[in-house]
């Protein structure tokens, strides 16, 4: 049933898309070429660093120090990936990060969407006060220690939930989403209200379906923030078996061997200080930590390319 509903929507969209296309003027051929050239350059500039890291992750480490800018693996080996998949902590922290990203983003969206919708109603009494309540935390952070003490009081230190609770609502994302709600034509909501729909019903049945692009966007912002967050895990989780991927990854990709006393360089003869992760392991860890989140994007992308307003008005 779900599938049918989806394909119906698909149908409406593609019709509109075709319609819309015919209304857009074609560019002259030279402009078209120019646009493509610029975009290809933009794509290459951003793709090459990634190719470089990928190539390193598949190379022998000696070959890497000789060719730091390689774009194709040399002394081909997959030992770095074997290392990763044989390191239980990396696999476990990967699971934690996936959990936090999925559940965290869902909760982020729940809180943000409802509050943003509420705050898009500028006519409610106390609107400005509530807005300021949201804006102030964006400008003034409380600092590490008080936050630690608070979280400890709430029993959240050393709990995976701390990774979700800290940053549950981002004022920035809230304001962005609220502004998107403003751009929706008010007539649709009004007509629904005349039909007797409650605020919640309007939000769920009318506003949300119309806001897929912005929900996808804000969801992406939240999801990526969860994925990339090492700070929360590092500071509020002391049990290393609960660390998210980024904390473990950071200790692998940053060379700490030179960090002696007080940040200076006190060298030692201890051999463990001289052991650092090989360059290919560092590169493979980066790839391992990025690829899953990269794959989320094409999945969300379809929401950015489709026109929706027209469909909404029709229905």
């Amino acid at each position: 049933m779900a599938a049918t509903a989806e394909s119906d929507v698909e149908l409406v969209h593609s019709k509109e898309l075709g319609q819309r296309r015919s209304h857009l003027d074609r560019n002259p051929w030279w402009a078209d070429v120019l646009i493509h050239v610029v975009l290809v350059i933009a794509g290459l500039v951003t793709l090459l660093p990634m190719v470089n890291i990928l190539a390193k992750s598949l190379s022998g480490s000696a070959a890497i120090s000789a060719n730091p800018l390689m774009l194709w693996p040399r002394a081909w080996t997959v030992e770095a990936y074997v290392y990763i998949f044989e390191t239980p902590v990396l696999m476990r922290s990967f699971g934690i990060t996936v959990f936090v990203t999925v559940v965290g983003t869902a909760l982020n969206l729940l809180f943000t969407t409802t509050a943003a919708y509420g705050l898009s109603k500028t006519y409610i009494p106390g609107y400005r006060f509530l807005m300021w309540l949201v804006i102030i935390p964006m400008l003034f952070g409380a600092g590490l220690i008080p936050t630690y003490i608070l979280l400890k009081g709430l029993g959240l230190i050393n709990s995976i939930w701390v990774l979700i609770v800290v940053g549950l609502v981002s004022p920035f994302n809230l304001i962005l989403m609220r502004n998107f709600f403003w751009t929706l034509p008010p007539e649709i909501e009004e007509s629904a209200r005349i039909d007797g729909a409650s605020d919640l019903q309007v939000l769920w049945h009318i506003v949300l379906p119309l806001s897929k692009p912005v929900i996808a966007t804000i969801g992406l912002f939240y999801g990526v923030a969860h994925w990339n967050d090492f700070f929360t895990g590092l500071f509020f989780i002391t049990d290393s078996s609960k660390w998210p991927l980024q904390v473990v990854m950071r200790s692998i990709i940053i060379d700490q061997s030179m960090l002696g006393m007080g940040g200076g360089n006190a060298p030692t003869n201890d051999l463990h200080r001289l052991i650092i992760s090989a360059d290919n392991i560092r590169a493979a860890t980066i790839i391992f930590s990025i690829v899953p989140i990269l794959m989320a994007y094409p999945f969300l992308q379809r929401y950015f390319v489709k026109g929706i307003i027209l469909g909404a008005v029709k229905s």
Binding site: A2, E6, T268, L274
Partner: protein, 507 residues
């Protein structure tokens, strides 16, 4: 709709993964054992897995239960401060010790346990640390709180060269500061595609500095008054070193990447990758570097230049790098000291060697550690480092270990050569005269800022910024002194009564 379904499946899967992971960590705890919490930094990858086979073996032998928390060293100081502040202090906690203002403050405020009575009770702990260091660590009331993590103070940075290339071009290595530039110029001419000479940081030049007659970055007696110590940037010969290096840089003899590349090992990497002809590097890396070099230059061979000139020697490092405290609130500190004592007596072998067949093997009746890369993952460094405590000073320079490194690299014949160079370097000692526990209030309060505001520019950019002159340097020091630097010097000299040359290695 489809999204929601997929999303839920994903969430469910993730929960399963997490809870499945959570369950296996509970089985390690056993009742009746003495247990304590332990927080320490780790230098390697933070891939420690709780209750691994090594940990279980250790806990069984020592009859303890250690609850380990690790923090990658790069973030250790920041995080540990939040932990101190929250009052959530683990039973045993690593820190910088009384040489750091913050830790001294916490120590004075009663956060940690005075340990003198335990040192009396467990002499093995006392004996692991040289008496001179215990003396240094005592506070104003004669109490000891801190158990230091010791390091061997002789860590020479060797000036290394490509023996094969030098031979090929008929170039003799330098013997003094005077012919240094000449030799490097010859190398540059003979091998225009190579970086003639590279190094990573100012600190890499610490052994070169000895040839100028100074202990780099150290306080030393002023030339006018041997009873007055002055900081490094006021020592004329050390300033000479900076402008000497600037000259090399200006002439294209020192790697242009110097001061720009942030990769901590870029200089070593260039040398190992066959892209540089000379490098200054930690003496202990030579075996591994040779092995790597040979993958790109099969005939590659690394030579070590003897200390330059009459004065050349070794700038000693302070023999303590962090250490640990016992919390004043620990319920049964005796249990911990008993355990620590065990690691230095009955458990000494286990602490040092680990498990036969896993972390070491016996060859011709001699124990040999198995190199990390050949070990089962569960017995590699990242699993063992979090469970290490106090290593006795006497074990800190281990020639047997070093020899194995050369054997593993396939160049056993080079071991004696490198050991000989080590002895050449360490024949002359250049320690920092400053006792780091001698505090200056002004320095604690604004020392860093004074350095940042007045000295950083000259101190850190002289070598690569050719516009910096000796006059700039002199003016910077004058400003620093006027803004509070003189006060720091006075306070340090008042606090530190003994201004004789420190000796770290017991004779």
């Amino acid at each position: 709709m489809v999204n929601r379904r997929q999303f839920l499946t994903g969430a469910l899967l993730a929960t399963v993964t997490v809870s499945a992971c959570g369950s296996d960590s509970d089985e390690g705890g056993s009742e009746g054992r003495f247990s304590f919490t332990y927080l320490r930094p780790t230098w390697g990858p933070a891939t420690y897995t709780k209750d691994g086979p090594y940990e279980r073996a250790l806990e069984k032998r020592a009859n303890v239960d250690i609850e380990v928390q690790i923090i990658p060293v790069i973030d250790y100081d920041t995080k540990v401060n939040t932990i101190l502040a929250s009052g959530d202090i683990p039973d045993v906690i690593w820190g910088s010790g009384p040489t750091s203002a913050t830790w001294k403050e916490a120590q004075d405020e009663g956060a940690f346990l005075p340990i003198d009575e335990y040192l009396e009770q467990y002499p093995a702990i006392r004996e692991a640390v040289p008496e001179s260091i215990w003396k240094l660590l005592k506070d104003e009331n004669g109490d000891t709180y801190f158990i230091p993590n010791l390091i061997w103070p002789q860590v020479p940075f060797f000036l290394c060269y490509r023996e094969d290339l030098f031979e090929q071009a008929g170039i003799e290595p330098m013997t003094s500061l005077d012919d240094f530039a000449t030799v490097v110029s010859k190398v540059k001419q003979a091998f225009p595609d190579l970086v003639p000479f590279t190094m990573g940081y100012e600190w890499s030049a610490k052994e070169i500095a000895t040839s100028f007659g100074v202990a780099m970055f150290g306080w030393e007696p002023s030339p006018d008054d041997p009873e007055r110590l002055i900081p490094w940037f006021m020592k004329e010969p050390e300033v000479d070193l900076y402008f000497w290096l600037q000259d090399l840089h200006k002439r294209g003899l020192l790697d242009p990447d110097y001061g720009v590349n942030k990769e901590p090992n870029f200089a070593d990497d260039k040398f190992k990758g066959g892209k540089a002809a000379m490098v200054i590097t930690h003496w202990g890396t030579i075996a591994g570097a040779t092995a790597q070099l040979r993958t790109v230059a099969p005939n590659g061979s690394i030579g070590v230049v003897s200390p330059l000139g009459e004065l050349g020697g070794n700038r000693l490092v302070f023999p303590i790098d962090r250490g640990f405290y016992v919390s004043a609130r620990m319920e049964n500190p005796d249990g911990f000291f008993k355990f620590l004592n065990w690691t230095l007596t009955d458990g000494s072998d286990f602490r040092r060697w680990g498990i036969e067949g896993k972390t070491y093997r016996v060859k011709n009746g001699v124990k040999q550690p198995i190199p990390d890369t050949e070990r089962d993952k569960a017995y590699q460094g990242p699993q063992i480092e979090p469970l290490s405590f106090l290593g006795p000073f006497s074990e800190k320079l281990d020639w047997d270990q070093a020899k194995l490194g050369f054997e593993a690299a396939g160049i056993p014949d080079r071991f004696e050569y490198v050991k000989g160079k080590f002895e050449e370097y360490t024949a002359k000692e250049y320690p920092d005269y400053r006792d780091p526990t001698a505090r200056s209030e002004t320095e604690d309060k604004k020392g860093t800022q004074l350095y940042e505001d007045y000295l950083k520019k000259v101190a850190e950019s002289t070598i690569s910024d050719h516009s910096v002159t000796r006059d700039d340097w002199r003016r910077a020091v004058e400003k620093w002194r006027a803004a509070g630097g003189d006060q720091i010097i006075d306070e340090v000299n008042t606090a530190q009564k003994d201004k004789s040359k420190p000796r770290y290695i017991p004779q």
